[in-house]
Amino acid sequence: MTKKEFSMQCPLPVRDYPRVLLAHGGGGKLMHQMIEKIFASSFQNEILKKRHDSAILSLPSSKIAMTTDSYVVRPLFFPGGDIGSMSVYGTVNDLAMAGARPKYLSAGFILEEGLEMETLWKVVQSMADAAKECGIELVTGDTKVVDKGKGDGIFINTTGIGVFEHSQAIEPQSIRTGDKIILNGDLGRHGIAVMIAREGLSLESQIESDSASLADLVMKLLDLKVEIHCLRDLTRGGLSSALNELAETRGVQIRVEEKSIPVREDVHGACEILGLDPLYVANEGRFLVFVKAGDADKVLKVIKSHPLGEAASVIGEVTKEKDPRVTLVNQVGTSRILDMLSGEQLPRIC
């Protein structure tokens, strides 16, 4: 994290406006000043430079991927990440899951009156760093300010556009019986890191979010030119929700082995204490690969050689084409249904 300990200070004269005012969303000079000094200076590129109402994009292919996501997280900064980098990585990852190379990004900010300008600056710098890392350009944006108490500091919406450099259909419909399922690493770190930071729980070990861009790793997998059928990132609802969604969409049965699913010891411990199941906890840098069985070893090898995939493993397979369901073979050797949660996981009484 040291690279993100910002030495740069917010360029708006802090003594004048240490906090965001309603007027910063009012369309006048203050808004213009904030856009120029905070946003435009951070996301410099040719398209943004034109200051047009719309970004005009030339794309190499007629088939593109587009996705949108809104980011609300408290606290704004948590171990391993912050709302800024998350709002870039999350959308980049959704593009990558379609097998697209992330190209362009829009960002909409809803700021709460009273937000410290320095906090906004840090978030925007983190977004800019993340965008640079992912090779995606932020080409259009919007800012609104809401009354104090009507927001939670910063809400960010990002929309991403990605392009295809191959002709494979990477989607749930391509999943086949016999496909192996590969997971790129340990589960539950993001959800637990945020929960610990939010609730002020004092646990001895430091758990950092796994928030990261998966685009580079996915592009390397596509370069293999093997039969990758589907990719899915594991965000809210964790592994369990992702598997259930896919089983339901494609109408297949999936079987996974609990003992092959990596969960770090400190995360496991926190989950045991809090009464949570790591298979349902959110991640921000984990994804599944559904791949033709014969190609699984090649894919696993590439994932394992990438920094975001050292703990990768084959966790299960697609077993049948009817009665969609997900079955988990647990450590004891018996099996059970791995269901989707009906709501949020709630901490238990005892």
Binding site: E199, L201, E265, H268, G269, E272, L274, G275, D323, R325, N330, Q331, V332, G333, T334, S335, R336, I337, D339, S342, G343, L346, P347, R348, I349, C350
Partner: protein
């Protein structure tokens, strides 16, 4: 993870399951008392490892499930008040009262907070002196020491804006109510390890003698439960009816003396109503006279509610071990975790929720 994985080891579990198969010569019915044990049994499919002549039935040991509807209604009433910060363990928020649950109070603007410890509620009270801070003190003997400690500290530190809505129940009287029932089928018990960690197990010795049932204090991991079952069926086969301790790594015969003293100082034993079962004498805890000012039910001058359960819900029979969740006609149809008819479907420890989550409605 150390201290967890070794108790989830498939080989060890298999050895205990084999030992049970070799020991059992006739049909037996054993009840696991605690909801945490029910969950482990269904989650790990432990019943699949057992001989079909050994019948496991699920007991009343889920604090969320046995909290009466009226108390949820009282909680909802308090939480809806303007000046109140209402604090609770997470799984109580989704339990429907007769009209609404605490989540919907939160959604309509009530200050309802999920906490992990009643001591956090005390901290909130001292930071918000103009607000009334109420903690929903639900649970068995396991949570009682923390609630007692919060009340005691509030008293000593003069924090007057703190109170608790008490719904504390005790395990041994419920076990006795089950044994004394003319419909009783239970021939042996796995007692709740965490409750005994606090209370010890001397209270169970007269029960084992009087009703001639073996009682094995048991933990919560797969090999704990299978070992507890093995110890229980061994007693049944040998005609013994003793209290044994499988969970010795946590439980001592006398329990945790300090915790018990704190509970005794703050609470007294009173009759309590159990959801789905009815009133059981000497089965709950209420605040002692000295601390009565911290009783939220008195402080807010609450209406006494008369709430009616859904006629389709058989959670009472399930909590007494007379029926299993999949024997209920509403299970998985009219009654699901999204639209629960009774608390055994709502709580993460409820038997119906465990069946639904791990076995599905298929």
């Amino acid at each position: 993870m150390k201290y967890v994985d070794e108790y989830r080891d498939g080989k060890l579990a298999g050895q205990f399951a084999d030992a049970i198969k070799r020991t059992v010569t006739k049909p037996w019915t054993v009840m696991e008392v605690c909801g945490g044990q029910t969950h482990a049994i269904v989650r790990f499919g432990l019943d699949e490892l057992l001989p079909s002549s050994l019948n496991l039935i699920h007991g009343p040991g889920c604090p969320v499930c046995v909290t009466p509807l009226e108390l949820i209604d009282q909680a909802v009433e308090i939480a809806s008040l303007e000046n109140v910060i209402f604090c609770s363990f997470g799984d109580m928020l989704r339990v429907p009262g007769s009209r609404r649950d605490l989540f919907s109070v939160k959604a309509s603007g009530g200050d309802v907070r999920i906490l992990y410890s009643p001591l956090d509620a005390l901290a909130i009270a001292s930071e918000n002196p103009r607000k009334e801070v109420v903690f929903f003190a639900v649970g068995f003997e396991t949570t009682a020491p923390a609630h007692a400690m919060a009340v005691k500290q509030a008293w000593e530190r003069g924090i007057r804006n703190f109170s608790i809505l008490v719904s504390h129940v005790l395990v041994p009287p419920a076990m006795e109510a089950i044994l004394a029932s003319p419909h009783n089928r239970v021939q042996g018990f796995l007692a709740a390890g965490h409750v005994c960690t606090v209370m010890g197990y001397t209270e169970y010795e007269p029960l084992a003698r009087k009703y001639k049932v073996p009682i094995v204090v048991t933990g919560f991991e797969p090999s704990d439960i299978l070992q507890g079952l093995f110890m229980c069926v061994k007693q049944l086969e040998e005609g013994r009816t003793e209290v044994e301790n499988q969970y010795a790594r946590s439980v001592k015969r006398e329990g945790n003396r300090k915790a018990r003293e704190t509970v005794r100082e703050v609470f007294q034993v009173i009759p309590r109503k159990w959801r789905g079962i009815g009133e059981i004498p000497k089965s709950g805890l209420g605040l002692r006279e000295k601390y009565a000012v911290m009783d939220a039910a008195k402080r807010f001058n609450l209406t006494s509610y008369e709430a009616e359960e859904s006629p389709d819900c058989i959670s009472g029979l399930i909590l007494q071990g007379l029926k299993k969740p999949d024997e209920c006609p509403a299970f998985g149809k009219k009654c699901t975790p999204e639209h629960p008819l009774g608390a055994t479907m709502v709580s993460s420890e409820g038997a119906c929720a465990a069946y639904y989550r791990y076995r599905g409605s298929r």
